[in-house]
Symmetry: C2
């Protein structure tokens, strides 16, 4: 598939001590590519996670939710091509079989094995293919980040990875993350599947808190089509190989630096997902300021970012700010029409509830021709602010989604 015009090249990602990546061909679909990823983690690895809020989650999500309570991880398995969602008892059996198989290979408890699957809904994951794939993965030579990032892809058009470092307790720790997801990316918890790995030593409870906070400003702030996957999963693993004194709370040495680096990786990963939005040709950043609260600002920003009329206007490079007004109005949050101000890029187009008299459309038109578009809304009510990211809605989205399953 042609890479998205918004694609970024896959970066050089450093190895993370205690993390070993392997991929294999389980052949969940009739394709000739690796579609099973097995990550093994050294003993003592802590884990945190954020999972879909769907009321109809996949058995993988239910499995991870349970396993997260223990806070320890020894392996991660990612299946691409079949989400195993909505498959009843057979789906649950597949997850249990995978965990048991990996536990046998690794010598750990099944509850130390995390599983995520992505792809078509409603078809039970074939246990025989999963087991054969796992056996092949165990025999395979370890691979790099790029291979793993490619093996977890489904409709993605480019592999996505990010890394960052921070100094914690006098040691340089590293965080690397990979992610997949393009369509069905929606509010609340947007990523299909994202995995972060660090060599920092982090207590599970603190890792969970840091990830939850990072998620609120990253994966929860992106939307492609407003739809929410039944499988959305973000997991963070901390092996502790860096040897710092384990981060346990906000007062631990380096806690701030670690949280900032984690948040940065999450934000960059989230934006990569938007850059691969199905049919996307433009990255749209929506900032709402002056709302009654941050939460209110977030809802209004998401109302704009999810509006098909706003997204098609941007696709058409049309500075149709009336549609932004519409989306503010429909959000159901406090807003005063006659105090509303709207900008595209740095150009104010509306102020005090009406068009800026004789505003110069030339810089706006130039801004909209670019790959990255900014929409700013000032409500004039309070101090609440939020930024979210989305992409435009194009013929490409329709083409991809009107004929995906067949």
């Amino acid at each position: 598939m042609t890479p998205s015009p918004l694609a970024l090249p896959f970066p050089e990602l450093p190895q993370i001590a205690g993390v070993t990546l392997r991929v294999a061909r389980a052949r969940y679909k009739t394709w000739d590519r690796c579609d099973l990823t097995l990550v093994t983690l050294d003993p003592g690895t802590a884990v945190g996670g954020v999972l879909t809020q769907s009321r109809c989650p996949s058995p993988e999500v239910e499995w991870c939710r349970k396993a997260l309570v223990l806070g320890e991880a020894r392996a991660l398995v990612v299946n691409a091509g079949n989400s195993n969602a909505f498959t009843g008892g057979r789906g649950r059996a597949a997850v249990e079989a995978i965990a048991a198989r990996v536990a046998g290979h690794t010598g750990c408890r099944p509850s130390d094995v995390f599983v995520a699957s992505t792809g078509v809904i409603g078809v039970p994951l074939p246990i025989d293919k999963a087991e054969a794939g796992l056996d092949a993965a165990v025999e395979a030579a370890p691979c790099g980040w790029r291979e793993a990032a490619e093996a977890i892809m489904t409709t993605d058009t480019f592999a996505k990875g990010v890394s960052a470092t921070a100094v914690v307790d006098g040691r340089t720790i590293t965080i690397a993350g990979i992610i997949k997801g393009s369509g069905m990316i929606a509010p609340d918890m947007a990523t299909m599947l994202g995995f972060l790995f660090t060599d920092a030593a982090v207590e599970p409870a603190f890792l969970q808190r840091a990830l939850t906070a990072a998620n609120a400003l990253s994966f929860s702030c992106i939307t492609v089509d407003g739809d929410t996957s039944t499988s959305d999963t973000v997991l963070a693993f901390a092996t502790g190989a860096a040897g710092n004194a384990p981060l346990a709370d906000d007062d631990s040495a380096g806690a701030d630096a670690f949280r900032a680096a984690l948040a940065d990786v999450c934000r960059q990963l989230a934006m990569l997902v938007v850059r691969d939005g199905e049919g996307a040709t433009k990255l749209i950043e929506v900032t709402v300021e002056g709302a009654e609260s941050d939460r209110s600002a977030h809802r209004i920003a998401m109302s704009i970012a999810n509006s098909p009329l706003v997204k098609t206007a941007i696709a058409g490079e049309d500075a149709n700010w009336g549609r932004v007004v519409m989306a503010v109005g429909k959000a159901g949050e406090p807003a005063e029409r006659d105090q509303l101000a709207i900008r595209f890029g740095t150009t104010q187009v509306a102020r005090d509830g009406l068009a800026v008299d004789g505003y110069d459309e030339a810089p706006v038109a130039a801004h909209l021709k670019g790959r990255e578009v900014e929409i700013g809304v000032e409500l004039g009510l309070g101090e609440g602010r939020a930024t979210v990211w989305t992409c435009d809605l194009t013929h490409g989205y329709i083409s991809i989604n009107a004929d995906y399953r067949s």
Copy 2:
């Protein structure tokens, strides 16, 4: 513009005693067609209305909201091509000027004049064009329903009208309605502009209650793209010319018959709007049963009807019921994955949370090839039920909306 493939022919609509229709060319856009509609109503006409819940409504909506309190109407003015929304004081002045002009011509109070405008946002309605158009309309010969239905259109591809009769207090009363709206049709109050007229005698308070109830099962149950107009307006006018004893409450003779006829006209008008959804090629009826409440069923049905992934799947004639599961899951309403059943047309495709073993896809494929598609969801939790209507999401929607303003 080519009529929607789902278009229905404009029906023969009966005259309503006490209602006089006229149209004129105000030339709000550079088009050569009538774009101003003036309806005059005999003295004693009662009015009820339902207006957009947008927090950024047009001055017309604010004007109507105020005027509705009095419950009396003598005229209706509809402007097409310019919504006059988000135009500050100049927009308000335009509405006041229109009401004053019509009041002068008709010999009524300005507050007896109802005004609705539809079209682009952010450009003040030119008062001179409105006044010249009104003066021309007053001089014009009365016209029929079809001309009025055409004059209120913007991106609509066909004129929309419906009528019904009922026996009230021993007299046959008639209701006729016209409507416009195709994009920006969304939850809560979906129609752009709809107008109903009856010769029944109805007290304003009862007319309002009957219209509110009819709206809940019609205009509030349709969605094209989830976006909400700043101008959505439905008004019902009752001239009383039929001479029945005025309907005042539920115990009035014929109250049930009147309410049923009004609800029927509203439902048919609402479905005409969906049939003209931008780019629509299929009418989709979504029914949710077994929810914890009707309200919960409605929210789940709307989540399905608003899902771009469901709508593109139907466009592709793909029985991708996994996307229906996804939309149920993301609604945030009570749902038990393992009790969920889903049907397309009359064919059950999933039951008890998984695909029906070896279900026959042939009748489903045949059903999806048709112009009218039914999706049924049974939650198995309670007695709540709801039906909503939407259309598929196609390349046509993108083409229309990516280049509307220019």
